[in-house]
Chain length 214, copies 2
């Protein structure tokens, strides 16, 4: 499924860096540049040049040329293709509060291949409305909709008190991967992929850095 060079495979760390490369390359492209060297990319993004080259080698069949570097357009095509940003990923979102509606309104996701097909909430005032053209439905219709549309990804933005029950409901509905924005621990079957968007963890790393400096 994933196009990758014979034998080799892209590590989690590499995959996480690819969107950064993509953004960087698109900026360069917009600025009218045609080629870029791994050396320059590394310098601008504070990475190691060999790491950049290794990542690029895994992802695209494009090879760079000594002295010139890589063709920006080819790299962009290769990375987008690898990440599957062409075939968008359908997802549903539960919890249309502050963060939830911000995510629903965020157009940027489409660029990264995420397509939120429906949102769910318990508030009767919200149910039946649309945000950014995405319908808000009652949670009890989640199962039917997820199965009908064969959605595999769920985004949780409900208050943390309800995160576990929503997660359970998602699993029952056939969701295979959960992106959890609620600041709480979720217990899930081992086969479900869970990604915690943990602001507390990021903050902890950042404040430790500052503390160490002083």
């Amino acid at each position: 499924m994933i196009e990758c060079k014979e034998g080799a495979y892209a590590s989690r760390a590499t995959i996480a860096r690819l969107p950064m490369y993509l953004r960087y390359l698109k900026e360069k492209e917009a600025a009218g540049e045609e080629n870029v060297s791994s050396t320059l990319m590394a310098e601008d993004m504070r990475l190691n040049a060999v790491q950049v080259r290794k990542d690029l080698a895994l992802v695209s069949s494009v090879s760079g040329r000594p002295k010139l570097g890589f063709k920006i357009k080819e790299l962009i095509f290769g990375i987008e293709n690898f990440l599957g940003f062409n075939n968008t990923n359908d997802a549903l979102l539960a919890g249309v509060g502050g963060l939830g509606s911000t995510l629903l309104s965020y157009e940027g996701f489409k660029k990264y291949g995420l397509n939120i097909v429906a949102a769910f909430d318990v508030n009767p005032r919200l149910i039946g409305s649309k945000i950014n053209n995405i319908p808000v439905l009652g949670v009890n219709s989640m199962g039917a909709l997820a199965q009908k549309l064969n959605v595999k990804m769920g985004i949780i933005t409900v208050p943390k008190e309800h995160a576990q029950e929503i997660a359970d409901l998602m699993v029952q509905s056939g969701i295979k991967a959960i992106w959890n924005f609620a600041p709480t621990h979720l217990s899930l079957p081992a086969e479900i992929v869970l990604k915690n968007e943990d602001l507390a963890a990021s903050l902890a790393v950042l404040s430790q850095h500052i503390a160490k400096r002083n």
Copy 2:
């Protein structure tokens, strides 16, 4: 500054896990439990038990007892103390749009030691108002305020087109650590700590997981 056992130091990975432990332990405490074993913690959080024990050993001077495990209250105290959640970190935020105002309204941050003292925007309608009791000011007053209050952390939630100029302004204002929510690459002096809250990267990792399954 950072209390840590002689010689040893907590790695970035460990620090990022600590808030998760903290949440887990507080849930246990709220449920009336007094002790918890590293084995159970690991099982519930899908981690390795040895890893949990190593992390806890680095962070707190509490030692567990065979057969009983660790005292939950002592662990909570130890972790909070280590992370410095007692002495809150002041921060300023730039960009009072959807995400920005969501973050300003998010009470949860205080628990994790983050204290947003002021927000900045260019929209005259917002300037002078307050969100969650935090004043919204014009960007041109950032420098004076940051220096007066000696703020060291900045949060960027402006549209990506303006992220670089706001980052530059923050650096000029004496900010030492930047938490960037704008989906763009920032060029900063090497001594500035930068943490990108990169939703695209998280999404990429998640969708690769799903793609691989199929």
